[in-house]
Structures are given as C-alpha cells and as structure tokens.
Subunit: 220 residues, 2 copies
DNA sequence: TAGATTGTTAATCGATTAACAATC
DNA sequence: TAGATTGTTAATCGATTAACAATC
C-alpha cells in the first residue's frame, strides 16, 4: 500500500517533463509580446503562437501557480516571472564547460544562455594549444585544474563537449569536482551516481525524427 | 466512424516518437559492440548499457523488423543495418545549412553527421565576409543564391542556424527552394506549410529539465 | 446581464510495464 | 531435456483532450 504522501504526489501537482519542455517556449513568446507593449494574453493566443491547443496551455501554466482572469487572460509580466522561477531561469546557474572544440566553443559564444540564467564561469580542455587562452571571452584552463578551480567557484552544472572516448573519464572528474548535474553533448552513454543528474542532448534523435517524418510525408 | 485503415494504423505497428529517439542510442552501442568483435547481444545487455528496461528494448527493436533468437539474442550486424534503414541513416540525407555563425559553423564541422547519413552539401550566410569562403571544408554561399543552387542539388533538409529575427524569413526561402524538412536551431516558433516537416531543437528545454531535476535532487 | 475565458473534473488516448507462453 | 531469452497479450500508468461549471 502506498503512503498518503506518495498517492498525493502521484495524483496531482508534480510538474511533468512535457510541460517543462514547453515552458521555455512560452517564455520566449511572452518576452516578445511584452516588448511589444502588451499586458495580457489568453491561452488561445499563446496556443496559436506555439501551434498547440489552448487546453494544453492552461494546464501547463497552472504549474507555475499563475491565476488568470476570465475574459482577460494572464498578466504577461507576472507570467514571465513565474515561469522563470519555475524553471530556475532567474538567479544564476553557474556552469563549467569541458571540451573547447567546435561545439564547445559555439556554446561558449551562445548569447541565449544569459537569457536562460546560465553562466559558464570557466572552460577546460586537454589541448595545451587551447589552455590559458580565452574563447568568446571565457578562460580555458587545463582539465586537471578542474577540481581545484571548482573548490573555489562551486559550479552547479557541467557541460560535457568532449569526444566519446574521453567522455566518461571527464564526467568522473566533473563529479569528483562536486558538480550536481551533467549536460551531456557527447554521444556516450554515461554512468553517474544517483545523486548526479544527467541530461543527454542527442542530435541524432532529432535528426532521426525529422528523417522519418519527411519520409512519411513524401509517401502518404 | 474511422476507416479500417485508420483503426489498423492506430492499433499497432506505427513507430512511436520515444522509440525513434532511442534508436540512435542503440545504434551507437551496437557499433561499439560490433567493433569489439561481438556477434550477438541480448535485450538485457542492451538495456543495461542504456540504463533502460529489457522490455523496452524488445518492444523498440520489434519496430525495426528484427527477429531475435531465444537463448542467443539479436545479431549485431543485422540489427545495425535494420536500425539504419528504419531511421534513414543509410543512404545520404542531403542538407543545406543557413547561418554560419558560432553554432552553424560548429555543425558544419561536426563529424558525427557522417555516421547519421547526413551530408551538408552547401551553407549560406548573408554576411559578405563569410560568403565565397569555406568553413570546415564546406562552401558558404550568399543566401540569395539558395533557390538557384537548390534547383541543381535538390537538398532534403534545411538546417536553420540564423538569429531569431530572420528565422522565419530564411525558413520561407528554404521552403521556396523545395526543402522537405527544416531542422530549426533558432529559438523562433516557425510557421511552415503542412507538407514541410519541422523539427525544433531547443537547448532551453534541455536546460530547464536539468535545472529542475538538480533542484529536486538537492532538496528531497 | 451576457459572453468570454479560466480552471476543474472526467474521458480518452498512448506509452510503459508485467506476466507468461513460445521457442530454440 | 532444461533453461534462457524472445515476443505477445493484458494491465497499469501517465499525458492529452473534452466537457462544462465557475468567474469576472
């Protein structure tokens, strides 16, 4: 028999992955609406901007704790603030990045992260040619200095952009450095202890979905 | 009343998004097992390598049409071939890329795409400083030449890496050029006609999931 | 008040998991 | 044959959608 706590948590109120995935999208259109001077927006309008259904919007937004006004909609500035709070895009999420290759360098230069509350505070590489330089204004340190520098800066997130062959090894260094979550851009299946969160970013998955969908739409 | 066809399709046999997302992961561990000389693999082994359950593996692999042998498992080379066929990672998926900034350049230099059967055959940018040069060996053309070059090369996929402000406009040029699917790395919500497939790649979504999971695991 | 929009409750749909028979 | 592993059928779980009452 489940505990009351378990049953309550299962029955309602825990935010769900599909909702979390949509929240940054709401955020972007809301910021755009806000900068055009609008104050309120309906679930109908948000739905049409995201090509989803209004009922999905209302269910999703309920998780942020917002209360909409019948006949008016939701306060845009309030909603922005609540979504940012819900997905931790306020404050600063500090991160280390490992692997300053093509992709790693691109992420170091990605301006969008500021808007997502992510601050890459240091980057690491094994290549002596890259270390002790900066890329897009971020300092690159030798990989072996990660634990030492982490003990001073206390990063939350480790962004892993190294080749598959060294991915597990570098992940282990990140974990030993006290990082709480790994954002894995390598295509290696990583093993991490249960208290470390792992988020895999798999371009192959997106490409496979696209490829199958194109094939299906060409031969209906 | 639904047609018989509709009911058959809904009841069984259509490959599902979660399965499609996992197929590239199977592919990678299978390729690694294959290069270590193994011939057969069980659902149990694959499951433990991907940190999922064996029943999920068996259900997923059924969609590729493979037939496993009780007490032995699945033929690794056969399975690789069937997965590649299922997600179109065999042959060549030809692509145009628009926007040779940080991210676009990184994707031009990404070696993993060859393994995914994706061939970026040309790249485009509005910046005259970038056009008529090459990045990672790929030629960069002025954006306005896309329709003309497309009429010769017939690309399937358009990889969109331009800033949000110009994303819709560039997507429209891709569509006018006859592209069948858009892989959208900009954070713009695009409008595309129903016969064009849209796959959004949203880094904000991954970051939001990671961020909420870290918060939850820190305060249990 | 009338009507538009939210938010809740119930129904449907789809994916995962469990149980177990089939098979080599 | 015995036992391991596949693959099928049924059950459970979770997310989306529909219907509609509440509210401003």
């Amino acid at each position: 028999m489940d505990s009351i706590q378990t049953r309550i948590e299962r029955s309602n109120n825990m935010i769900k992955i599909p909702t979390i995935r949509r929240l940054p999208r709401y955020l972007r259109v809301l910021q755009s609406l806000s900068s055009s001077g609008r104050e309120f927006v309906s679930s109908e309008t948000l739905a049409s901007l995201l090509n989803i259904k209004p009922i999905v919007v209302r269910k999703d937004l309920a998780f942020t704790g917002i209360s909409g006004k019948p006949r008016v909609g939701y306060s845009i500035t309030h909603l922005i603030s609540l979504i940012e709070g819900t997905i931790n895009f306020k404050g600063k999420n500090t991160a280390f990045l490992a692997g300053a290759g093509n992709l790693g360098s691109a992420l170091l230069g990605y301006n969008g992260f500021a808007r997502h509350g992510l601050d890459i505070i240091a980057a690491f590489d094994v290549d002596p040619q890259k270390t002790d330089t900066t890329i897009h204004g971020k300092s690159i340190y030798p990989l072996e200095r990660m634990p030492e520098i982490a003990s001073r800066l206390n990063p939350y997130i480790g962004i892993l952009c190294v080749p598959e062959e060294s991915a597990q090894q570098v992940a282990d260094i990140m974990i030993a450095s006290g990082i709480k979550g790994i954002w894995n851009f390598s295509n290696k299946e990583l093993n991490v202890p249960p208290d470390v969160v792992l988020q895999n970013e798999d371009l192959g998955a997106g490409l496979a979905i696209l490829s199958i969908a194109i094939e299906k739409s060409s031969r209906p």
